[in-house]
Structures are given as C-alpha cells and as structure tokens.
C-alpha cells in the first residue's frame, strides 16, 4: 500500500509521485490525528493547571492516593505505580508486536498482541478499582472529601463521636467546598480511560485480524504499526496524567 507510487519518482523526495515523509498516508493520518489528540489532552490539562493555580488550596495527592488492594492505608502512590508499570509494560509488548510484524512473523505478532490486550484490560481494571475506592471514600465528580477546608469540620464531627469515615461523608455532603480537584481528576482520567478502552477494543480487532491471517495475506503488518502508535500515545498521555495528578 505504501509502495505503489514510490517507484515512480525515486530520488527527489518533494518532487511528487513520492512519499516525502517516507510514510504511507495511513501512517501520516495516524500521526497527525495523535498530534490533534495531544492538543485535546493538553487543553484539558491546561484547564486543570489554570484552575489549580487559581485555587486557594488543593488536595494533597499523597493523602488522596493512599491505598492499594490489601493495604488499607499508608501506602501512598503504590497502586498508581503498579498501574503505570502495567501500561508501560503493555507498550513494550506492543512494540514487540510491531517488531515481529516487520519480520512477518504471524505467531509472534499474535502472541504479543494478546499480551498487549491483557495489559490494557488490567489497566482498566485497576482504574475501575481505584475509582470505586475513591467513591467509597465519598469522592465523586462534585464531591471532594480531600478538600483542605473540610478538615476542621471532619475533626469536629469526629469529636462528636463519629468514625472518621462517617465524618468525612457527612462533611463532604453538607459543607460547601471546592471540588475542582475531583472534578478534574475524574474528567481527565476518565477521558484517558476512554482512550484506553477504545485502544483495547481496536487491539482486539487487529489481534483477530492477525490471527485469521488478514495481514499475512496483505503482505505487511502496517496496521499493527498504526494501532501501535495510538497505543503508545495512550501510554504517553498517562505519563503526563501521572505526573500532574499524582506527583506534583
């Protein structure tokens, strides 16, 4: 597909009848789509940045993201560390699939693609778990139990004999507070999660295609490469989300 016009005008790459970027139109469209999507995410993160800069106080990530399955509390950032690892890992298996594609090795492509799908699914599972956990702590898109201004109220309720958990729920439901943090968190990680989800679906589709030999017949595995670009991009976005929500 990428080769039909190259032969016509070898040599001067901008003279027409040629692919000046050495990439097929499909790959170019994927690249420029990702560029565009990068602007989408930047705009969201930009909103996050501006609102956080403008806020008078903000939740402390080390406190918010404290728990992993099995460890109730006191393990800041461990869980998100695992999530990050999984996503990077699935990026690695994706490159390996692409690399196998260049060698036209169907069985290896399929193997690595399956691993990639598993990695993506695990990431989504982790995210679901994390969200559920945050919900159980009273967080939602319009409720932010970690807002610093709630602390005195929570302490007051605790001193009236409530458990910390009950006190937090009461405070978050009754006291007006700034919930930009959770709004942004759920919106942006949700948007990213949506990308991961679409990625997993597309990955499944191309894995099946690879299995039934579609790309073998076509003579090249460029489709894996294009989808791979998308998948790495999802990983890339996560790297930024991770820094700006969990670290900074």
């Amino acid at each position: 597909m990428s080769t039909h016009s190259v032969a016509a005008n070898e040599g001067k790459i901008w003279d027409g009848g040629n692919e000046p970027f050495g990439a097929s139109y499909g790959k170019l469209m994927m690249w420029f789509f990702l560029l565009s999507d990068a602007f989408t995410f930047t705009a969201l993160l930009l909103g996050y940045g501006a609102l956080r800069f403008s806020a008078l106080n903000w939740a402390d990530p080390d406190v918010v993201f404290q728990s992993a399955p099995g460890i109730e509390s006191g393990a800041p950032l461990v869980f998100v560390g695992i999530m990050t690892f999984i996503l990077i890992m699935s990026s690695v298996t994706m490159v390996l699939a692409v690399e196998a594609g260049h060698r036209n090795s169907k069985s290896e492509v399929v193997k690595w693609m399956i691993w990639t799908v598993i990695g993506g699914a695990m990431f989504l599972g982790c995210q679901a778990w994390e969200w559920t956990h945050l919900f159980s702590e009273g967080a939602s898109i319009t409720k932010n139990p970690f807002a610093p201004e709630l602390v005195p109220y929570i302490e007051k309720f605790v001193s009236q004999g409530m458990s910390h958990h009950e006190a937090t729920l009461k405070a978050v439901n009754e006291i007006p507070h700034n919930y930009e943090f959770t709004s942004l968190f759920f919106t942006i990680t949700g948007f990213h999660g949506f990308h991961v989800f679409s990625g997993v679906v597309i990955n499944i589709v191309i894995t099946i295609n690879a299995m039934v030999g579609t790309y073998q017949r076509r003579g090249h595995y460029e489709m894996i490469e294009k989808v791979g670009l998308y998948w790495h991009f999802v990983d890339l976005v996560w790297v930024f989300v991770f820094t700006f929500f969990y670290l900074v």
Partner: protein, 122 residues
C-alpha cells in the same frame, strides 16, 4: 528496520522504569520531606523534566519517531510549541486569578471585621 531490535526495546523499558522509580523516590523518601516542602517549585520542575524525558523515550523509540524522516520529525515536534506557549500564558493567568481570589478573601475578611465591630463603635 532501524530502531526495532528487541534489545533496544528492553533497554528503553528499563530507562522508563528507572525514571519512574526515581520519581517515586523523590516523592516518597522520608528524608527528603524538608526539601519537598521548602523547594516545592524546584521539585515540581524536576518531575516535569523527568516526565519530558519519559515522553521523549516513548515518542522516539516506542513510536519510532527518531528513525523517521526528518520532515516527519519536525512536523510532529514543532506544533507543540503552540501548546507550550498556551500553557505558559494560561498558567500565568491562573496565578493572576489566584491573586484576585486572595484579594477577595482578605477584603471579605475586612468587611466582616468592619461589620462585626461596627455596633461597638456606636
């Protein structure tokens, strides 16, 4: 094709892993607590720089951009300049809103004070 050998891939993976671990160390080592609070901006900038390193490795090696034609590299790498410009401006703007909010808070407090004290003066 250049850049796609398994060894290279794993090497990049370990680099990414190492950077992430480093970030965790900065964020969690108890001994650094003082630095984290006193030099918050510097620490945050460090995170950002480390993140950009990770981004570089993902884009250059996993997405293979480093081995594409130079034209493609430029056409992907240059447009984000606009984004950076936008980020700088809008964050600066966020800081400005923060100033306004703080001012509002203090002036509200002053108003409250005046209102609370008013009856005593009469």
């Amino acid at each position: 094709m250049a850049g796609f050998d398994t060894k290279q891939i794993w090497k990049v993976f370990f680099i990414l892993l190492a950077i992430t671990v480093l970030e965790f160390l900065i964020a969690l080592t108890p001994a650094l607590e003082g630095i984290r609070t006193d030099y918050k901006l510097a620490v945050n900038l460090t995170y950002v720089v480390l993140t950009l390193f990770k981004a570089f490795y993902i884009i250059a090696y996993f997405m293979h951009l480093k081995f594409e034609k130079i034209n493609l590299i430029y056409s992907i790498a240059l447009p984000p300049v606009f984004v950076i410009y936008c980020i700088v401006l809008v964050l600066y703007e966020g800081g400005y809103w923060n100033g306004i909010r703080e001012e509002n808070v203090t002036s509200n407090q002053k108003i409250e004070q005046v209102e609370n004290h008013a009856p005593e003066h009469h």
